[in-house]
């Protein structure tokens, strides 16, 4: 039953590191205190490689690889901070800021938003592409929570936590491309949802102010995510 775990040795930013064969570049980097930015990734949820912020360069591979889904390999030489990568990451953030209406000063999570803090960390000084200013609805029909599509970055953490952890699959995505939108059930008002258990997991995993709880002061709106690794761990033990 107990198969030997193979350990791979590799280099990340010229540092010698080691990781289990089933670990990703992102996991190994974080264990070693190497920072790789992420938005759609969240420990405890399936990684989907959608935000493209964690792209890294691997020597000998012409493509850029998403660190969150790329397994470590023996002898890999990974570079996480090249000038080119930093430029792409800033542009990705600029595109996200231009896509919808991200106005930090009037946002409910101003000060503890992952998008905002990444923009600060990665040195995004301005948005070089024109703002699109779409007209998007806010759904406050749920008795406790609100979804504000203006702040959504379509990371689909809510979709995944609802499906994979809570098991309700209330959230999903509708539409294509730039018209994509997260929806509850078959695009019904959240308050009318028959599948939503009001567990609030989606609100806690949301990186921005797209999902928030009603009637709380801004200072209390810190997202609580400790439950995720805990739940995942419990599940694995059961297996």
């Amino acid at each position: 039953m107990n198969q030997p775990v193979r350990v791979k040795t590799l280099k990340i930013d010229d540092r010698d590191v080691s990781g289990r064969e089933d670990e990703t570049i992102l996991e190994v980097a974080r264990q070693n205190g190497i920072f790789i930015p992420t938005l759609c990734h969240l420990d405890g949820l399936t990684s989907i490689g959608a935000c493209r912020l964690c792209l890294v360069e691997v020597k000998g591979v012409s493509r850029l690889l998403p660190a969150c889904v790329t397994r470590v390999e023996e002898g890999m030489e990974v570079y996480t901070q090249s000038e080119r990568l930093q430029k792409y990451r800033r542009m990705t953030l600029e595109l996200l800021f231009s896509e919808r209406n991200h106005i930090c000063s009037v946002c409910v999570v101003n000060g503890h938003c992952e998008l905002q803090s990444l923009a600060q960390t990665l040195g995004m000084t301005h948005v070089g592409v024109p703002y699109r200013f779409p007209r998007l609805p806010v759904d406050a029909s749920h008795e406790r929570f609100v979804v504000d599509h203006n702040r959504c970055i379509l990371c689909t953490r809510c979709v995944r936590v609802c499906d994979e952890i809570e098991g309700a699959h209330t959230w999903d995505v509708m539409g294509r491309g730039i018209d994509s939108r997260v929806i509850t059930d078959l695009s019904e008002p959240w308050g009318d949802s028959e599948t939503c258990t009001s567990c609030g997991k989606c609100v806690n995993v949301c990186p921005t102010g797209a999902l928030f709880e009603k009637g709380k002061p801004v200072a209390d709106r810190l997202k609580k995510r400790q439950f995720l690794p805990y739940l995942t761990m419990m599940r694995e033990e059961r297996r």
Binding site: G49, R52, R63, P66, E99, L154, V173, R176, I178, S180
Partner: protein, 547 residues
């Protein structure tokens, strides 16, 4: 079952029906049908019946004959005459002239380069057999390759033959087919799948549709051989729902093949079983991407996922899966019948065999052609295509659809193969070829394709979802005379970023039409921006003061 038994099986049916004196073949593929070839067929049948010569003369519906611009096409055998632009009022005249001097007014010249320069492997039966009759296919050596494979070839020998042929994926990327097959064959597990990708979606491309409509059994046979080689027992044909005729003919074909024991359980009396089911696409271009296609078959939202793991290892429902394009499967049976070396003798060093192209746009002869790899673009456009109509000047040819690029005049003598096309900033793609003359504005063309990519982006990854929308916005400003040179610089930056950071092929190749037009027609972009002028006169520009 041996190939001889197969033939006998069919000839039993044929013996009851004597060979007719004259056979009138009417094209019933989508292009000719859209110009009412079904009415022509009906009129011809009525005419024969009215004259009481129906038994000795036969009207037969056949697949695409290629020259779609001259449709509806009608071929008369054994007279060897082809008539073009036939209407139902011509029926009486055609029947009258059976076995006599052909009608000059309607005759379609078949000695032209359009017909003589082609080399047909995939389309060898197109326009000759009735796509709704398995007997017709078997009479032209159909299913003999499958019978032979099951009779006396091991799966490894089949893969070796395909590898030897040098066949590369005809969906566009050109991945070596033999290598793909052997990867799936080596993958562990007893459950494997074979998928045929018929989600053809490039604007102006209709190769796969024509193959499916004209010769559906060829694809099924290719899939069955592939299934035997890789060890699969279930196959899926993912066809877009916009191809109702192809779907109908495939359904008929599957039923017929199952009835003869050529699909289903214990094929040809062996232990090999292979079932094929059809899955319909719901109109999303991105579902042509293999991982999105798999998600769609699984009943999920059609979105790609990062590779690796590749489908060969982790595909449909997590099992090893072989995905090939329609045209790739269509090449399999001829390769087995004639040998890999025969196939490898056609084409160039790295691109073997033939390629089917859908020739469209500003050429005299639009339609479906099959040419050996390595032919030059000039031969395709000016010999086969007959050149540009109306005495206008050639400007560029767009290959590879929204993932490809525009190739200008200076590369006309370049051989058509995977590598050469990539060098000039385009791709082979699935085979769409749109010819443009001097009346086309290249910025407008780039805008058209960017609009397509923006609308068809699935929305999963940021660069493709937002980047294509931003690039489209800039192109829109350029074509309406509002953009500045700094926006052009931004456009180039976005092209670079979207190309290298997008998740799947759609986003990674979406900037190609812009990049290639910028490379060869930069002056047109500058004219739009600086002079506020569209050189081709296509774009609506603001009226300047003093004019």
């Amino acid at each position: 079952m041996t190939p001889e038994e197969l033939k006998r099986l069919v000839s039993q049916g044929e013996a009851e029906r004597p060979e007719p004196k004259h056979r009138i073949c009417v094209c019933v593929a989508a292009a000719c049908l859209s110009s009412n070839s079904d009415q022509v067929k009906q009129a011809l049948e009525n005419e024969l019946a009215a004259r009481g010569i129906a038994p000795e003369c036969e009207v037969k519906g056949v697949g695409c004959m290629g020259l779609c611009s001259a449709g509806p096409l009608v071929a008369v055998e054994p007279d060897g005459v082809t008539y073009q632009h036939v209407t139902s009022t011509d029926a009486a005249e055609i029947v009258e002239h059976l076995g006599q001097q052909p009608i000059e007014r309607l005759t379609c010249p078949t000695e032209t380069p359009f017909f003589t320069k082609q080399y047909k492997i995939v389309l060898e039966n197109s326009g000759i057999i009735d796509p709704e009759k398995i007997e017709d296919y078997i009479a032209r050596d159909g299913y003999t390759a499958l019978a032979r494979v099951l009779e006396d070839m091991s799966p490894q020998e089949v893969i070796d033959e395909i590898t030897r042929s040098g066949l590369r994926g005809r969906g566009g990327a050109g991945y070596p087919t033999g290598l793909k097959w052997s990867t799936v064959a080596k993958a562990g597990g007893t459950r494997k799948f074979v998928i045929c990708n018929a989600d053809e979606g490039d604007p102006g491309a209709f190769m796969d549709r024509s193959v499916l409509e004209s010769d559906p059994h060829r694809v099924l046979e290719g899939m069955a051989i592939a299934a035997y080689a890789v060890g699969a027992s279930q196959g899926y044909l993912y066809v877009r729902a916009e191809y109702p005729l192809a779907v109908k003919r495939l359904r008929t074909a599957i039923r017929q093949a199952e009835r003869l024991g050529l699909l289903g359980n214990n094929i040809c009396g062996t232990t090999f079983s292979f079932h094929v089911d059809i899955r319909l696409g719901a109109g999303a271009f991105v579902c042509g991407e293999e991982t999105a296609l798999i998600a769609s078959i699984e009943g999920k939202r059609g979105q790609p996922r990062p590779r690796p793991p590749y489908p060969a290892e982790y595909g449909l429902w997590g099992y090893p899966t072989l995905i090939n394009n329609v045209e790739t499967f269509a090449n399999v049976a001829p390769i087995i019948r004639n040998g890999g070396d025969w196939y490898a003798s056609i084409g160039t060093e790295k691109s073997k065999g033939t390629k089917v192209f859908a020739l469209a746009g500003a050429v005299k002869n639009t339609g479906l052609i099959e040419v050996p790899m390595g032919i030059t673009l000039r031969e395709i456009i000016f010999d086969i295509g007959g050149g540009i109509p109306g005495g206008r000047k050639f400007k560029a040819v767009q290959t590879g659809g929204p993932s490809g690029g525009c190739i200008p005049e200076q590369y006309m003598d370049m051989p058509v193969d995977y590598e050469s096309l990539a060098v000039v900033g385009s791709i082979m793609g699935s085979g769409g070829m749109i010819v443009m003359d001097e009346t086309s504005c290249m910025v407008d063309v780039a805008k058209f394709f960017m609009d397509f990519c923006m609308t068809e982006s699935c929305g999963k990854c940021v660069p493709c979802r937002v980047g294509t929308a931003q690039m489209y916005g800039i192109l829109q400003r350029i074509t309406s005379g509002e953009a500045t040179m700094s926006e052009l610089a931004l456009l180039e930056e976005l092209c670079d970023m979207v190309k290298y950071t997008s998740l799947c092929g759609l986003g990674q190749t979406a900037p190609n039409p812009v990049l290639s037009t910028l490379q060869y027609f930069r002056d047109e972009y500058i004219a739009h921006i600086v002079e506020k002028r569209c050189p081709a006169g296509v774009c609506q520009m603001p009226v300047r003061e003093g004019h």
